[in-house]
Every structure is written in structure tokens, then in C-alpha cells.
């Protein structure tokens, strides 16, 4: 992986290791899976996370529920509400993260959510909790580079990656600002819209990924609207270093509740096989 800086090879972390895997000397795309913490309950989440790892997920994103998830479609909105209705607190989410880190020392864990729950006790508090819980990266939907001071410096100070989003509206003039201060990977939101809705044209993803990778020293993962193994394989084949699947897994939690791990593991396995063998 020549894109990784020498610095990163000297000081490998779990995120860069997840993107450095190869099959027969060819870089292997990573499967990134998302579920909402505490959905349907905090007690049910560890088994669901374990199912993702057993199914072959390379990176796990754990969604922090928020009352007002304005970037999310119906599936993840409902997951947020189920989680909050069952009483999920920020303390409970960090307990889930610590438990995950103990059970899965190698699998990168990324927290994804909205600015207010992340910054409400101050960015330093949040960054310290992430660091202590073994969280590798943070994706904050509503803190763009312009407002980086609210989260970025605190995360960088403790070595937790700030993973930024790039979108179809992020033009060449803006991309350097998005990349500045971000690490781990760049999350390309392949459609202008909300999670779990329409699917991007593979050709447009291919063009965008090529453009982003030309400017980026960190891997590029693609998400939003990727639901099936076939779609995931197509995105990986289009050059993405990673493919993110969220709503399809969250739908299984909605359907099966605490009994979801079996179905989650099966879908994750199918997705992982498709993504890993796409190139």
C-alpha cells in the first residue's frame, strides 16, 4: 500500500492495518459495518457486534444515538429512537466500546454520530473517553472542517482518528480542507442525500474514488445506499479501499431485535466475501 505514509508503516494502528491486508499481493478492500449502539437495548449490542466480527467485518462503526439524526434515513432514525427509548446513555456506549475492545483486540472500532452528544461535556472529555475505551476513530456528521476546533484538536491530541466525510458536492477546491487534519480513512458519501436511500451509479463512484485517491494519502471508503453483497462488490471493484454497509444491517436489528445476531452474521459474511474477492 504505497498510499500509506512511511510514518504510518512505522507506527501501525488498527485502522491502517485493516486497509493494509492483501490477497495474493493485491490490496484487499475492507468491509466496514455500521450498527447503532443500544439498538434495541445496550444488553443486546455486544452479541450483534460479535456477529459483525465473526461474519468478517474489517472495521466496525458504532452509531451513537441522537434525538435528531438529520442526516439519516428512516431505518437509522428508527434505530436511534429504539436505542434512546431503551435508555442508552453515553456512559453505556463507552462501556460497550470497552467490552468490544477486550473481546476483539484487533478489530478497529469507530464511533459515528452527531456533534451535540460528542461535545456536550467538552471535546477533551469525549476524546479521553474514546482513548481509554480503545476507540480508533470518530465520524461526526455535523462538524465540517470549518468548525474543526470543536472536536478535531482534542481527538488528535490523544491519537484518535478524525474521519471526515467527502460528498459529491466536495469539489477539488474544497477537498484539501476536508483532508487536512483527518486520518484513518476518508469516508466518501456516494449520494447527496440521507443514509439508506438511493444507490449511487457505479460509474460515478469510480470517477469520484479515483479523484479522491489522487489527492488523499489515506484510504477512501464508500458508503450510503450500499445494501447487498452485489452492490458492495461493485463499489469495491470500482476502486474503493473500503465499503460501508449500515442501513441493511440496522434493518435486520429492527426485524429480529435481540435475536438479530444470526441474520447479522450471515449478511456480514456474504458482504465480506463479496468485498474481499472483488478485485
Amino acid at each position: 500500500m504505497t498510499r500509506l505514509s512511511p510514518n504510518r508503516r512505522l507506527f501501525p494502528n488498527r485502522l491502517s492495518a485493516a486497509f493494509a491486508r492483501e490477497v495474493n499481493g493485491v490490496p484487499r478492500p475492507a468491509l466496514i459495518t455500521f450498527i447503532t449502539a443500544g439498538d434495541p437495548t445496550a444488553a443486546a449490542t455486544p452479541a450483534i457486534l460479535d456477529a459483525l466480527v465473526e461474519g468478517g467485518a474489517d472495521i466496525v462503526e458504532l452509531g451513537m444515538p441522537f434525538t435528531d439524526p438529520m442526516a439519516d434515513g428512516p431505518a437509522i432514525q428508527a434505530a436511534n429512537l429504539r436505542s434512546l427509548a431503551s435508555g442508552t446513555t453515553t456512559a453505556a456506549i463507552f462501556a460497550l466500546a470497552r467490552g468490544f475492545r477486550e473481546r476483539h483486540p484487533e478489530t478497529p472500532l469507530v464511533l459515528m454520530g452527531y456533534a451535540n452528544p460528542m461535545t456536550t461535556r467538552g471535546p477533551e472529555w469525549f476524546a479521553q473517553e474514546c482513548h481509554k475505551a480503545g476507540v480508533d476513530g470518530v465520524i461526526c456528521v455535523d462538524i465540517p472542517p470549518e468548525e474543526d476546533a470543536d472536536l478535531g484538536p482534542a481527538l488528535r491530541a490523544v491519537g484518535v482518528s478524525l474521519i471526515r466525510l467527502a460528498t459529491p458536492t466536495t469539489d477539488a477546491a474544497r477537498l484539501p480542507a476536508v483532508l487536512e487534519g483527518s486520518s484513518g480513512f476518508l469516508y466518501y458519501v456516494s449520494v447527496a442525500g440521507i443514509t439508506g436511500k438511493q444507490q449511487a451509479q457505479v460509474a460515478s463512484v469510480e470517477e469520484a474514488v479515483a479523484r479522491l485517491k489522487a489527492s488523499s494519502t489515506i484510504p477512501v471508503a464508500v458508503g450510503f445506499g450500499v445494501r447487498t453483497p452485489e452492490q458492495a462488490a461493485a463499489i469495491a471493484a470500482a476502486g474503493a479501499d473500503g465499503v460501508v454497509v449500515g442501513s441493511a444491517l440496522v434493518d435486520l436489528v429492527a426485524q429480529h431485535g435481540a435475536a438479530a445476531p444470526v441474520a447479522i452474521r450471515d449478511l456480514t459474511r456474504a458482504l465480506a466475501e463479496a468485498v474481499h474477492s472483488a478485485r
Binding site: 435528531d68 434515513g73 428512516p74 455535523d142 468548525e147 470543536d150 466525510l165 458536492t169
Partner: protein, 411 residues
């Protein structure tokens, strides 16, 4: 306040859209380029005399501005009944309830739709709570022939049927929002979801002086016509400035519109009135009194929230004040101490509503009824020659069902 007073209170926000620590642009990356383009276009529009000319022409001939400035003699006398000797300030009203569509909301909608057309946008979306901003948006869309989609919490759709029908008559599509708690903040979430998926052709007309920069600034600028007119009208009628300005605050657009042109007049005190609902120790909508700074809907401001930063539901009898946040400039004006903020309960607002009906023959909306309730408390403590200028930001036709219900009357 320990922070040194700035030389001027009228130079906010800074280049990055911050009012002190408040405001900003807390939006997803998809919206960020659009927000920046809106800022550039607004800067160009401000420098374009043709934009100002068209805005002012529409305000005069379509909205019916300037709205009158009215001295309320019987209300003033009624409040003097409980005042000590020599006390009992004069009460004056800025009559923005006489605007076309019945509230101040139309001022801002005219400005924003002109911006939308400058930007080549062909579809308008908006959120609404009570329906006043929805009606004003639907009105300007009809006037300029643009399709209009209004997001409204399903609960609000049910309790504001007359305004829903008005919007439909005006050609708007009203979409009931069933996500979250089915109220205004969820309507705003849904409008943001629509916008992010339709950025190329859609302009989001935000109804209050909140949201990501430059919305708080441009909404304030469009609403400042209220304070500019009031200042000139009072000077010409009395030769002096008011001693106290009073306005109700939900998001705070009518209040900032009245206050802003007076901010650098040191003799003019200002009072913003939040909705205390059932009481500050119960369900309410007073973000400054009962909240703390946080990030929601694109800006940093005082929010009603729990210790984990989850947003809590607001409550007010006035659907227009029923929002868990407040415009960021108000958060700043409170922290620097330039404006005082207080709150009044549902019951106090209902009393003030009836008081104005009977003393002045004006049926106010429940939003300015909160301002009137605060006036009723403070006027008897001020000298008889003092002038209180309150903003009557909306008329009460839309609220008669709510008021009847609260008073136990059957219609």
C-alpha cells in the same frame, strides 16, 4: 458579565458566522458548499441596489409596510391601576400583525425568495410549527410561481388545520412529519433531509434567525425592517428613543428584528421573553432560562437538552415558541449582557391575550401575548414618562381554537 463590552453590538457575526462562541456552520459536508454559495450570493445581494429596491418595493406594496406604530392608551391606563404614584410606563406597539399574512414572518420570506431566484433555484422548501412561516412561504411561492413543499410535524398538522388549509389554497404541498416527536424540530430535521437530497434545485427558506451561517444573519437583516421603522417612527412622533423594547422569543426572529437597529443606543434597554410553558420547573420552551450551549440544526446556541446532549421536547401553548433552541445572536446578546431575557408561562400569556383584546380591541397571537405579559409585569415599575415599545409580531386569528380550548369555551 466579566467580558469587556464590544465597541459595537451590531458587527456580529464574524467572517466565519460566529456570534462570540455561538452560531457557526454545523452541517453535513453535502450542505457545506451550498451554505458557502448562499453566503457569497447574500454578500453580492447586499451590495446590489437592485436587490434592496425590489425587497423594499415588495415590502411596501405587497406586505403593506411600514406597519403602524401605535400608542396603546387603555392598556397603559389599565397597567397604571396597579402602579405606585408616578409609575406606569407608556406602552407602544409595533403593529407587525397587520402585515399581509398576519405576522412578521413574511418580511423574511420576501428576502429569501429573492435570494433563491438570484441563485437560480426553482423549488422552495420550509419547515413550520404553528403554520405562520409555512403560510408566509407558501404565499411568496405563489407570488413568484415556484413550487413549495412545507414540512410540518404531524401533531402540528392536526392542531393547526386552518393554516394547513391556507397553505394548500396557496398551492403548497404540506408534508406531515411522523419522525421523532412529530413537532417543529422534527419538521426541521425532515426539511434538512429533503434539502441534502435536492441541493441542486432547492432553496430552504428557514423561518427564524437560527440554522447555519448565513441564515441567522440574513434573517436578522430582513427582519430588521421592524426595528428600523420603529426607531424612525418613534423619533418622529415623540422626539425620543424608547426606554425599553420587549419581544417574544421562540427562535427569536421578530425580537432580533426589533432589537438590532437599537443595539448601539445605550439608553435603550431590551427584554426578550421566552415561553415558560407550564413553568420553568416543568415542561417549557425557555432555552436561555433552562438550557445550556450545544449544537443543533446547524448552529451552536442554548438548547434544552439532557446531560448526554440529547435534545428534550419543548412545550408552549404557543406553537410558534415551541422549539428547544434559540437563535445564536440571542445567546450571544445574553452572555455579553446587552439584552435581558425573561420568561412567562402559558397562563400568564393567556391572561395577557385577553387583556389586549379587551383594552385595545386587538386580538394578538399567542406569541406576542408572551411579550404583552412581560410588559404587564414591568410597566408598573417604570416611570410614567418612560416608553415601552413591544413588538406585536402576529395576530391571533390562528389561535382562537387553542385559546377557546384553554379557556374551556366550546366553538
Amino acid at each position: 458579565m466579566t467580558a469587556p463590552a464590544p465597541n459595537s453590538f451590531r458587527t456580529q457575526p464574524d467572517a466565519n458566522g460566529h456570534f462570540g462562541q455561538f452560531g457557526g456552520r454545523y452541517v453535513s459536508e453535502t450542505l457545506m458548499p451550498l451554505i458557502l454559495e448562499l453566503e457569497r450570493e447574500y454578500t453580492r445581494a447586499k451590495a446590489d441596489p437592485a436587490f434592496a429596491a425590489e425587497f423594499e418595493d415588495l415590502l411596501e406594496h405587497y406586505v403593506g409596510r411600514p406597519s403602524p406604530l401605535y400608542y396603546a392608551p387603555r392598556l397603559t391606563e389599565a397597567l397604571r391601576q396597579s402602579a405606585a404614584e408616578g409609575l406606569g410606563a407608556q406602552v407602544w406597539f409595533k403593529r407587525d400583525e397587520l402585515n399581509h399574512t398576519g405576522a412578521h414572518k413574511i418580511n423574511n420570506c420576501i428576502g429569501q425568495i429573492l435570494l433563491a431566484m438570484r441563485m437560480g433555484k426553482t423549488r422552495i422548501i420550509a419547515e413550520t410549527g404553528a403554520g405562520q412561516h409555512g403560510v408566509a412561504t407558501a404565499t411568496v411561492c405563489a407570488r413568484f410561481g415556484l413550487p413549495c413543499v412545507i414540512y410540518m410535524g404531524a401533531k402540528d398538522v392536526e392542531r393547526q388545520q386552518p393554516n394547513v388549509f391556507r397553505m394548500k389554497l396557496l398551492g403548497a404541498e404540506v408534508i406531515p412529519v411522523t419522525s421523532g416527536a412529530n413537532t417543529l424540530k422534527d419538521a426541521m430535521n425532515e426539511a434538512l433531509r429533503d434539502w441534502v437530497a435536492n441541493i441542486h434545485d432547492t432553496f430552504y427558506i428557514i423561518g427564524t434567525a437560527a440554522g447555519p451561517h448565513p441564515y441567522p444573519e440574513l434573517v436578522r437583516d430582513f427582519q430588521s425592517v421592524i426595528g428600523k421603522e420603529a426607531r424612525a417612527q418613534l423619533l418622529s412622533r415623540t422626539g425620543r428613543l424608547p426606554d425599553l423594547l420587549v419581544a417574544a422569543i421562540g427562535g427569536g426572529s421578530n425580537a432580533i428584528g426589533l432589537f438590532h437597529p437599537f443595539l448601539d443606543d445605550p439608553s435603550v434597554k431590551m427584554l426578550g421573553v421566552e415561553a415558560a410553558g407550564h413553568g420553568l420547573d416543568k415542561e417549557h420552551a425557555a432555552s436561555l432560562a433552562g438550557g445550556r450551549p450545544g449544537i443543533l440544526h446547524g448552529n451552536k446556541t442554548y438548547l434544552l437538552q439532557d446531560e448526554d446532549g440529547q435534545i428534550t421536547e419543548a412545550h408552549s401553548i404557543s406553537a410558534g415558541l415551541d422549539y428547544p433552541g434559540i437563535g445564536p445572536e440571542h445567546s450571544w446578546l445574553r452572555d455579553v449582557g446587552r439584552v435581558d431575557y425573561t420568561s412567562v408561562t402559558d397562563t400568564e400569556a393567556l391572561d395577557a391575550f385577553q387583556l389586549l383584546c379587551r383594552t385595545e380591541g386587538i386580538i394578538p397571537a399567542l406569541e406576542p401575548s408572551h411579550a404583552i405579559a412581560a410588559v404587564a409585569k414591568v410597566a408598573p415599575t417604570m416611570p410614567r414618562d418612560a416608553i415601552i415599545l413591544a413588538n406585536l409580531c402576529g395576530r391571533g386569528d390562528k389561535d382562537i381554537f387553542t385559546v377557546a380550548d384553554a379557556l374551556g369555551a366550546k366553538l
